[in-house]
Structures are given as C-alpha cells and as structure tokens.
C-alpha cells in the first residue's frame, strides 16, 4: 500500500465519526525506486490532506525533513517534488495493518494489499 492511497482512505466502521486518517502499523515496508514525474506529483498535492501525509510518513520512519505545512509555489521546486514523489509512491507497506483511530478495528495489509472488508455485524 502506498501513502498516496492511504491519504485518501478512511475508516467506514459503522458509527465512527473520526475515522481519518487510519493509523498505519507496518511490520514490513519496502522502498522502490520509481521514475520521477513532477507533473503527476504537482497534480496530486492539492488533493492531499497534507498533515495526514506527514503523520503517515512519521509512522513509517520516512519523515525525511518534509515540511509540516505545504510550501507555496511547490510546482517549481523540484527538490521538494522529488521528496513528495518518494513518500507518495516509492514507500510501500507490504505487511501490517491499518487501524481505525476511533474504534480500534484493524484492517490487515498482506503482500501490499489492504483488506478493507467489514464483517456483517460491523
């Protein structure tokens, strides 16, 4: 699971109001090198909840001096965009789980794939 996806996921456990962001508990993390595409990163930044991204990076030990608030004029800052590219797309949680911050319910991640299914009584 990549952090771009994690940034857009929320807990859908019944009755939960503050289900975002899901807490990442990773037991295996991989970092792959992926072709840098500044255009794509620039397009995605406005869609992100920036603080949730920083929080997630912290849980994975990948904070890498990313600023806690979004810098202005980031479209022209390649060094910044490369850092965001890395955290959004290159860092992957292979094994672990996502935990609902309100209910504590855990969604397992196996072979990089989160399983978000709820049981019938949830």
């Amino acid at each position: 699971m990549k952090l771009l996806t994690h940034n857009m996921l929320t807990s859908h456990v019944k009755g939960v109001i503050k289900g975002y962001p899901l807490i990442i508990k990773a037991t295996e993390v991989k970092v792959n090198e992926l072709e840098f595409n500044g255009q794509f990163v620039s397009r995605m930044i406005p869609k992100l909840e920036w603080s949730a991204l920083i929080q997630a990076a912290g849980w994975l030990g990948q904070s890498q001096d990313l600023p806690s608030t979004l810098i202005p004029d980031y479209e022209n800052d390649e060094e910044f965009l490369r850092k965001v590219h890395r955290i959004l797309l290159e860092v992957e949680v292979i094994e672990g789980c996502l935990q609902c911050p309100e209910s504590g319910r855990e969604f397992p991640i196996s072979k990089g794939v989160p399983n978000m299914l709820l049981n019938e009584d949830e």
């Binding site: 699971m1 990549k2 771009l4 996806t5 857009m8 996921l9 929320t10 859908h12 975002y20 992926l34 072709e35 595409n37 255009q39 794509f40 397009r43 995605m44 869609k47 909840e49 797309l89 196996s110 072979k111 990089g112 794939v113 989160p114 399983n115 978000m116 299914l117 709820l118 049981n119 019938e120 009584d121």
Partner: protein, 466 residues
C-alpha cells in the same frame, strides 16, 4: 472551392475500422475534446460510413487523435474528393498547388495506395486508377518500400456486400498522416496476458472505454470492480496512474483457480501489478485493495480524474456485497482455503448502479467521467433504464449486442456539479432519478431466454435469487 486558406482550413479524412461501429463517434469526439476541439464534419456526414471528413483541425490535432484511437485506422490530409472520377479530378485541380508542393518535390520519394471499401480490385485495376491521377504534379520518384510520402486513393463502394456497384459512390484522395492504434488490439490481447479471469475485458473495448472516459497522462483513474485489471492496463497505456478495488480476495491476490483452459491454479506472477509490468507501465500502478464497492472506503474530497469499470452482471461473476441478511447465500465454490468474504448477500443490480453513480458524483473531479457497462434485456429496453444522477450528465450510450435478447451498453457520464444535500432527495422531485428496478431480474431473464432457445420447458433456477 478554390479559396486560399491557411492550415486551419485544411480538411482531413478519417478512415475508420468497421467494427464496434456505434462506439466510434463517441470515441473520436472524446479524443477531439481532449484537444478542446469540436467534431465538425460535412453536411453529407454518415456515421455508418467508414470515411469521415473532419474540418477545423490542425495536423497536430489529427496526430493526437490517431495516437489514441482504436476505432480509426488511418488519417489523411484531404486533397480532393467526389462522387465521380471527374468530380474528384476537378476537386484535386482546385486544391491549392502551394499546399501540395512541399510533398511533391523532385528529390523526394512517394507511393500511392488504393483502398477500396466493400470491393476487391485486381492489380491491373489498381494500377489503372493510379495512372488516372497522373495529372497531379508528382515530381519525385516512386519508392514502394520506404517512401517519404504516402498518398492514398480511397473508394467507397457502399455497405451492401451483396450489391456492389461498378463505380464507387464516393472517392477521396489525400496525403497519409498517421495510422491509429489498432495494433494495440493485438499486442494487448487478453490471450497473451499474464493474469486473466473469466470476465477480463477484451483489449479493443478496454481502450475504447479509456478513450470514452477521456483518460489522459498523469490522471488518477479508479476501477471499483477491478477484477484482473484489464481496464487499468488500458488506462495506464495512456499514461494514467491507476488503482482499483474488488470484493474478491482471490482475484485481487491472484490466487485460486485459473481461467485458462489448460491451467489448474494461478501461477506466482499472476496479479494486476504483473499485468502492468508485462506492458511496461508498472510505475503507474498505485494500489489495489480488497473492498466492497457498496461500502466506500474513500474519504470525502478524495477525487479521481476518471472512473472506468465493468460491474458484475450476475451471470459469470456473482454480484455480492458484505452484510447480514435473512436469506444468506452460500459462498462461491471456487475459493482456496478459508473464505475471505464475510457472509455474502446478493447485491441487486439496480443498487450497484445507484451506488456507482452516487460514488461518481462524490469522487470524480468536476468534468471527470464515469464509464461503465450496463447489462440490458433487449425486449424491454427503454431509455428510462439508464440510471441518472443530478450531478452527472449522460454523454454516451453505445450498445453492444451479446445475444438476441441481451446486450450491454457502454454508458459515459460527466460530472457537472458537486453534490449537495438536496440531491439525496432528488428522486422524490424527479422520477428520472429513481433507480430502475427491472435490472434486478436481468440474470433470470438472461437464463430464461437461453432455455427457451434450447427448447426446454422448465425455467432455469438462478443460483442467487435477485
């Protein structure tokens, strides 16, 4: 007309392939729309014809369309046309000589092809037709193998293979610009793909879907019924980053029984990511997840540029969702080991589409498109069956016949406004927004139609009661 025009007045001729006929115009329109250009053609435009004249475009516009289309075979800069050889000749003599000159230079090489639609010509006749064009000021040398410029005489002999006229109805002559992407239909064929399932979308249609959805490079595209990822493969070919979800754990993880004839179980390299790797687009793979499309996992304001999907019809893949219900359905038989899906209940087809449209209204960017297949029982089809939503406008509705009594329609919708609270009650004010319930018995009607065809008396009992 012998007007002196700049490049913008050029006319182009599109030569289209003769399959998926109903899907062609929406595809070309969508691709022109990506260039912010309208579809502008002649008054004699006939959508069923394989030859379309396009006005008001630049050569770059044409090249851009041809770099994406799987419906278009080739595109030409149109130098002349007519319903008789004399009309063609007059038309060609009127075409500005200065527009022709750059391609007829003395030190250049060229060749002339003859293409006849709905007729086969012998070699001798082809040569005669080329010779009849020698009034054109060709100064270069003919090179059949590797010419710098290619010209084409295209003749339309109508659409009735049982009534082929002596002379063509229409003739066109132009300079070849580019070919379309029909080669992708072969190179992306599902037969050669590493990971397939029972309902993997055929390559041609998946590219058509990506085009109808106006997918472009650096988009983020989502498929909520991703299966084996065929639609994501096509979207990634056009440079989009892709993600998908599916309720079926085995398919997402690429385990369980294989769909190939001689194969029992899936191999280790069979999953959606491997499919993208096969075509060199693994860098565009974002994620796939196991998830129930009826219980969205995306936060408010999570938005995709396009949603491209093929929801289950309840025929080859069952329609399922999680939840408790009095009539509990037995889990599907083909699972390896423990069941990963909590108690399944039937996901009514009409709910699938209502949920899908509602999801699209919330999770598409403004102007973004939803493209999906809607299964139809043909004897009962009426426009009211096509689901509507106050935030989405219906752009295309193209039918693909599956049998005498069933078809599926490729629906394209575009988001025109953000959802408001009042939209949830829209169906009370306007009956068009009430989900059509007739879809739910699609599976019954599908099998009922089949057994009638086989001459059996008893109605087939469907596995999942809809």
């Amino acid at each position: 007309m012998a007007l002196h025009c700049g490049r913008a007045c050029r006319q182009y001729l599109l030569h289209l392939a003769h399959d998926n006929v109903d899907f062609r115009l929406p595809e070309i329109k969508a691709l022109l729309s990506l260039r912010k250009r309208p579809f502008d053609t002649s008054e004699t435009f006939n959508e069923k014809s394989p030859f379309w004249q396009l006005n008001g475009l630049s050569e770059d516009d044409i090249r851009s369309v041809m770099s994406r289309t799987v419906c278009g075979k080739s595109a030409f800069e149109l130098w002349g046309h007519g319903t008789t050889i004399d009309e063609l000749r007059t038309s060609l003599l009127e075409y500005p000589a200065e527009n022709m000159a750059p391609y007829l230079q003395q030190n250049s090489t060229y060749k002339i092809n003859v293409y006849t639609f709905n007729k086969t010509l012998v070699f001798k006749d082809r040569i005669e037709k080329i010779d009849a064009l020698d009034f054109l000021p060709f100064k270069g040398t003919v090179n059949l193998k590797d010419p710098e410029h290619i010209f084409c005489l295209l003749e339309d002999y109508g659409s009735d293979p049982n009534d082929i006229p002596e002379e063509p109805f229409h003739m066109y002559f132009g300079r070849w610009i580019a070919d379309g992407q029909r080669e992708l239909i072969r190179s992306y064929s599902v037969k050669k793909r590493h990971f397939i399932g029972n309902t993997s979308m055929d390559a041609g249609l998946s590219f058509i879907m990506a085009n109808h959805a106006k997918v472009k490079a650096d988009d983020l595209v989502y498929d909520p019924f991703v299966g084996t990822g065929s639609l994501l493969v096509a979207c990634s070919r056009f440079g989009a980053y892709v993600c998908g979800t599916d309720i079926d754990y085995n398919t997402i993880h690429g385990i369980g029984k294989a769909s190939r004839k001689n194969q029992k179980w899936r191999g280790p390299d069979e999953n959606i990511r491997a499919n993208l790797r096969q075509y060199g687009t693994e860098s565009l793979y974002v994620d796939v997840m196991v998830s129930d499309a009826s219980k969205t996992v995306w936060r408010k304001n999570a938005q995709f540029d396009a949603i491209v999907t093929d929801p289950p019809y309840g025929i080859r893949e069952s329609t399922r969702r999680t939840g408790s219900h009095k009539d509990i359905i037995k889990p599907p038989e083909d699972f390896s080991g423990e069941s990963h899906v909590p108690v399944s209940m039937a996901y009514h087809l009409s709910d699938i589409f209502a949920d899908l449209l509602n999801f699209a209204a919330h999770h598409l960017v403004l102007g973004g498109r939803l493209v999906y297949w809607l299964p139809i029982y043909r004897p009962e089809y009426c426009e009211e069956m096509v689901p509507l939503h106050p935030c989405l406008t219906l752009t295309n509705n193209c039918e693909q016949t599956l049998s005498s009594h069933t078809s599926r329609r490729l629906i394209t919708m575009e988001k025109i406004k953000e959802p408001e609270d009042s939209d949830r009650l829209a169906h009370l004010a306007d009956p068009r927004f009430t989900p059509y319930q007739g879809h739910n018995s699609f599976r019954e009607k599908y099998f009922c139609g089949l057994t009638k065809k086989n001459g059996k008396d008893s109605k087939a009992t469907p596995k999942n009661k809809d």
